[in-house]
Each structure stands twice: as structure tokens, then as C-alpha cells.
Subunit: 190 residues, 2 copies
DNA sequence: CACATAAACGGAATTGGACTCACCTTATGG
DNA sequence: CCATAAGGTGAGTCCAATTCCGTTTATGTG
């Protein structure tokens, strides 16, 4: 699918402009109407829809990159810290990411808390990252076993979409509670 | 505000019919367009909007009662079980409630994860119920201190709105992790 | 270079849903 | 029985996303 014939030059330019416009808009306030994004990219809505099936698909594309970056961090954490510390840091990091803008939070929620096929890629990548963190923790006897990355993903999904006022503090607290919950049944200190 | 003048007889009848129609529709699939609800209640949309500011306000009203019932259960649990057991049961019960229909889950999410003023009453009631459960647990040294009911509410909000396939199992698992996380720093067994 | 043509683009029109409003209808208390 | 304020109606508005098709353009071919 990604290689059905290289895009025409103007098409690639427009596609990029759309992604840039969307990224700018989404990361800022998370809102942004389709027309608005098209206008910012100096393109008509029709063109936007030529490149992206739906508005959601555009959102997904914008955030795929952010998620990839986040997941890359997971590997780095695992290399530099004890498994439990890596896990804790990653959970907190997730909250930080959700905080960069309303849009990121909503996207993370969609990725984590739904089954929307649009976010399949991002979801798989995140689940894999968490699986690795959990597996390392379990191997070291620092984390209870029997929890899949997908489950943790879902638990976090909820807090990323929070739109309430003091949400970030709350989210960090919740991440900590989850972390402690994950350690609860570990084979080491119980 | 609840006593600006008793409603005219036909008005009360319509209001009730609307709530009944909405409840039926919401608890089932959670969808239900405004027009559809009005039709089921044998009333025009204008009438619906005379009684409820917005669609969301109608939703809120429908679920207020469910929430009240749920909260009443909290007191009962506290009377019949040890504080930690009461807390655990309540968390699991919440998931069960979210499972009665797509609509209930979505409503619970809105109540728990947002600041929407429409859900203020329900939110306050839920937070109070959780505060009591937590306080009892803390007093018995079975639950860590420093966590407010509101925070736990938010943590749960995320899982109640989940629309994914195997969500219920996941939600129960998450509720358990949260529960264990809440016990983690307790003064009794650490 | 000129042309054919598939690929892209534009943007008015359609759709779908919540919500409004100007105008009827009716309960009700005097 | 009537006046009248409360209540009801539903066609119409608004506002997004999405579609459709006629027009424009990049590009590779002769």
C-alpha cells in the first residue's frame, strides 16, 4: 500500500503542508476544523480528503510520529534504568506527553481506549513498548505477572483524555497508583 | 430552582415520557438521536428542548438516578464489609454498572473524566461515596492516605468509556490494579 | 517541445445531527 | 367561560464533516 507509485510532486507538497498545518493546529488546541486546516495548508478540502480518508485519519497520521518517538524512549529507559524505574518513568512521561496540548491528550486517549482501526498502528506500537517494560519488570521480580501492555494502555487511556482543570496533577497521581498496583503482587517484596 | 411553580399536568407527563424514552434508548445502545427520543415519547423536539437545555442535560438527568443508586450501595458495602473489601467491591461494581449498556459507560465517563457542569451533581455524589470508602480504609490502615475520591473517580472514568471488544475483562483487571495501588502505601502490611 | 492523460485539485453541494423560533394550543385559576 | 401564561410544534437554521464532478496540471512519450 505505501508504494503504489511515487506521489506526484505537487501532491507530496500538499500532503506535507496538510500534515504540518494539522500538527500545528492539533498540538495547540486540539480543535481545528477540516476547512481550517485545509485553508492553513493553502489547499481545498477536496484535496485534504484525497490524502486522508477522514478527519480522524489525518489526526492519526499526525500523532503516529509522536507516538513512535514516545515508544523509542521506552527502549532507552529500559537500557538506562532498573525495570521498575523504567516503567514508572514511562508512565509519567506519557502524562507529560498528553499535556503538550489538548490534541495530544485526545489522540492518546483514542489510541489507548478505543478499538478504532485508524489507530491500530499506534496502538500496537504502544502496547509493544509497554509489554517490553512489563516483561522486564516481571523477569526481575519487580512487577506482577499476568498483565498485558494492552491493559495498561487502556488504563492510561482514560487519564490522557481528561479535560478537567487540575487534570495533570491527578493524572500523575493516578499513574503512580497504577504503577504501585502493578508492583503489588511482584515476587520480590510483596 | 426546583420549585419555581409546579409543572402543568401535561408538562409533567411529557417530561416523564421523555425521560422514559431516553432511558430506554440510552441504556440499550447509548446512541439515540434527539429526534428519535422525541418521537418515542410522542412529542416534538421543541418540547424536548423545553424540558432539557441540551441533549447532554437529558443524558445527565437519565443517569443521575443510576448514579445515586450506585452511591447508596457504597454505604451498604461499608456497613457490611471491611473497608478495603468494600472499596474493592465498589470499584468492581462500577465496572459492572458501566457494562449494563454502552450509554451507562459513556455517561459514567463523562461524569468521572470531565468537568462538564451538567454532571456536577452526579460527580459530587460519586466523589463523596469514594471519599467515604477511602477514609474508612485509611482509618483502618488498609489504604494509603492522600488520595481524594475525585482522583480515583478520574482513574475509573477512563475505563468506563472504553468501547473496545474485550473491555470488561480489561476494566476489571484495571480496577484490581488500581485497588492494589491504593493499598500499596498503607500503614499496615506494606 | 507538444500532447495525451492519469493524477490532483477546487469548492459548491450534500448530509447528518443538534438546536432555535415564531406561531399555535391548552391547562388552569379566577 | 375566559384570559392568559405555560406549553407544544416542527419547519428551518447552523455547523461540521464528507462527497462529487468538472477543471487544472505534472509528467513521460513521441
Amino acid at each position: 500500500m505505501p508504494s503504489s507509485r511515487p506521489l506526484r510532486a505537487d501532491a507530496r507538497r500538499n500532503r506535507e503542508a496538510l500534515l504540518a498545518a494539522a500538527r500545528e493546529a492539533f498540538l495547540a488546541d486540539g480543535a481545528a476544523h477540516v476547512e481550517e486546516i485545509a485553508r492553513r495548508a493553502d489547499v481545498a478540502v477536496g484535496t485534504l480528503y484525497r490524502h486522508f480518508e477522514t478527519r480522524e485519519a489525518l489526526v492519526a497520521e499526525v500523532y503516529r510520529q509522536e507516538v513512535a518517538e514516545l515508544c523509542a524512549t521506552s527502549a532507552r529507559l529500559l537500557a538506562q534504568h532498573a525495570p521498575d524505574e523504567a516503567l514508572r518513568t514511562f508512565l509519567l512521561l506519557l502524562v507529560e506527553h498528553a499535556a503538550v496540548g489538548r490534541g495530544m491528550g485526545e489522540a492518546l486517549e483514542s489510541i489507548m481506549a478505543t478499538d478504532s482501526p485508524v489507530f491500530d498502528d499506534a496502538r500496537d506500537e504502544m502496547a509493544r513498548a509497554l509489554d517490553e517494560l512489563l516483561a522486564a519488570g516481571v523477569a526481575a521480580g519487580l512487577v506482577r505477572s499476568g498483565i498485558s501492555g494492552r491493559v495498561v494502555l487502556r488504563a492510561l487511556g482514560g487519564i490522557c483524555g481528561m479535560r478537567a482543570k487540575g487534570w495533570k496533577d491527578d493524572a500523575l497521581r493516578i499513574a503512580t497508583i497504577l504503577y504501585d498496583g502493578l508492583r503489588y503482587g511482584a515476587t520480590n517484596h510483596g
